[in-house]
Amino acid sequence: MIQIPLAPLLLSMKVAGLATVAALVLGTPIAWLLARGRFPGRAVLESIVMIPLILPPTVTGYYLLLLIGRQGLLGRLMGQWLNIGIIFTWKAAVLASTIAALPLFIKATQGAFEGIDRRIEDAGRTFKPVLIVLCTITLPLAWRGILAGSILAFARAMGEFGITLMIAGSIPGRTQTLALAIYDAVQANQPQEANAMSILATAAVLLILALVGRMTKVRY
């Protein structure tokens, strides 16, 4: 009988879930801006958003380390003014996963916004204020794209490795997510544990996909 370590899975779920929410909240307005906005610096914003997708994760992680580490610019400010340090805590793991997931989420959501016929929104605007049109026309029409983006974001967050290792470390029971724990198990020559955790991770992701697939059946 082998012990299935549940802690890394639960931590991964928590981190990936929170990262997905963060990507949703941060990414949706950015995606809307990129899809509909016409402002100077639009191309620059689009490139910046894509950086984490292109850079090696360890490099992104290293930059973040410089930024939020105890001696980093943001890290020092947060320590002094807010008395919080997120480096090498599960919060840093959430940050790492959010950064990794954001480009995927934004790309999918931007596509969803761009796919909406502008005249449908314009028609809405002749009847109701912009904010109501956004909530009752734009978002309901884009929600499948937003959901697809969220699934991508969640999957990417579950698999996050490089950035997490750089800024959250791999502290068992505290910041060791599933991906890191599997690596550790392989390193420590514990194939049963690696197998168990890999199967667990696969099952969890498949279950979520199936649930989401059920929810997104629509008529129009």
Binding site: D117, I120, D122, A123, R125, T126, F127, L141, V218, Y220
Partner: protein, 364 residues
């Protein structure tokens, strides 16, 4: 009543429309890219002009100098889009009720929706989604959605372009019937002159971002002000001659050696002028009745186009034998074509009725 003067510069295009239109249906007619849809969007508040004013029934909804720019939903404008732009995720009822102003009590809203459904003959389609409807039904929903909030002005952007030509004819009649009860200003945008004439009592011709002429539909068709208007209304025979003023409202035009009489007021000064006559206004004359006609010409048919109900004949006065070179385009009914045994190569007598010869003012 709509009163607007607007100016908006875009890359490669300068919109500077001026319009004053009263109640009833006015058609804004022009080729694609003429600025007619842009004008509609500006009235609705969906694009912002650089300068100018827009007033609806005396209410200023836009004034660049005074810094007034009312949001679209506050302008009391109903807009029917080209492809209808229905909300695909809402039912027919949902689409209609979205057109009601905010804060309408629930029971009153339901009444208005039912009333509108009934008016549009869509009672049994309340719970259908747009994708389940035919083109004509979609158009009715779009119209109902635009009218349910009782707008002061109704804007229709090419309402028939998304439909098959076969159903267009019926739906035009249907639309006219549904609009019969609407008391307000209606502005219909179209690139189809026949449609403009059929639907509207007043026509404004727009091209290159400017209104070239506005008047009753007969005026615009038969008394084009300038050459460009004549081109847009398919006057076809736009000719160049030398005119001198004969007497009140009578002009003598020398064209290719012939003296032609033209009746009616002319905006042009004497001298070299352009004038026009529509192909259907040129008369073919039986050879034995030649003496009684004025503005009589003799020519040869160099080319013809059979169109079923009528023929378009291309007549050359000099007869160089080149079918591409002709002086007049004329339109005759097929029955007359057969009676006169017309064909390419045949010599014919033509008369240009003086009241249909129309002098054009120079283009600005």
């Amino acid at each position: 009543m709509l009163d607007l003067a607007l100016d908006r510069r875009l890359p490669g295009f300068h919109l500077r429309t001026q319009l004053v239109i009263g109640d009833g249906i006015t058609a804004l007619y022009g080729p694609s890219g003429s600025g007619k849809s842009l004008t509609l969007l500006a009235i609705a508040g969906l694009i912002r002009p650089t300068s100018g004013t827009i007033r609806i029934n005396g209410r200023t909804v836009f004034d660049a100098n005074a810094g007034i720019d009312l949001a679209p939903h506050l302008r009391r404008v109903g807009l029917v889009f080209q492809e209808y732009a229905l909300f695909p995720h809402k039912t027919v009822s949902g689409n209609l009720s979205f057109g009601l102003p905010r804060g309408t009590p629930k029971s009153k809203a339901a009444d208005r929706v039912n009333e509108t459904l009934h008016l549009l003959r869509l009672d049994s389609f309340a719970q259908h989604y747009p994708y389940q409807l035919s083109g004509g039904q979609r158009q009715r929903v779009a119209l109902g959605r635009a009218l349910i909030g009782r707008p002061e002005i109704l804007l229709l952007d090419e309402p028939f372009s998304a439909l098959d030509p076969a159903v267009r004819e019926t739906l035009r009649q249907e639309l006219l019937q549904m609009l019969a009860d609407y008391k307000g200003t209606i502005l219909l945008v179209t690139h189809d002159l026949q449609e403009a004439y059929l639907m509207a009592s007043t026509i404004a011709i727009i091209d290159g971002g400017k209104v070239l002429q506005m008047g009753t539909r007969e005026e615009v068709l038969h008394q084009p002000r300038t050459r460009r208007v004549a081109e847009h209304t398919s006057a076809k025979n736009i000719l160049r001659g030398v005119a001198c003023h004969d007497s009140d409202d009578t002009w003598d035009i020398v064209w290719r050696g012939h003296h032609l009489r033209a009746d009616g007021p002319a905006p042009a000064a004497a001298g070299e002028v352009e004038f026009c006559i529509r192909p259907e206004d040129v008369r073919l004359v039986w050879p034995d009745r030649v003496e009684r006609r004025v503005n009589l010409l003799r020519g040869r048919i160099v080319h013809e186009l059979g169109r079923g109900l009528d023929y378009v004949l291309f007549v050359s006065l000099t007869d160089g034998g080149d079918p591409g070179k002709y002086d007049l385009e004329i339109q005759v009914r097929s029955r007359l074509y057969d009676l006169m045994t017309l064909c390419v190569g045949k010599e014919v007598w033509l008369s240009l009725p003086p009241d249909h010869l129309h002098l054009l003012a120079p283009d600005e």
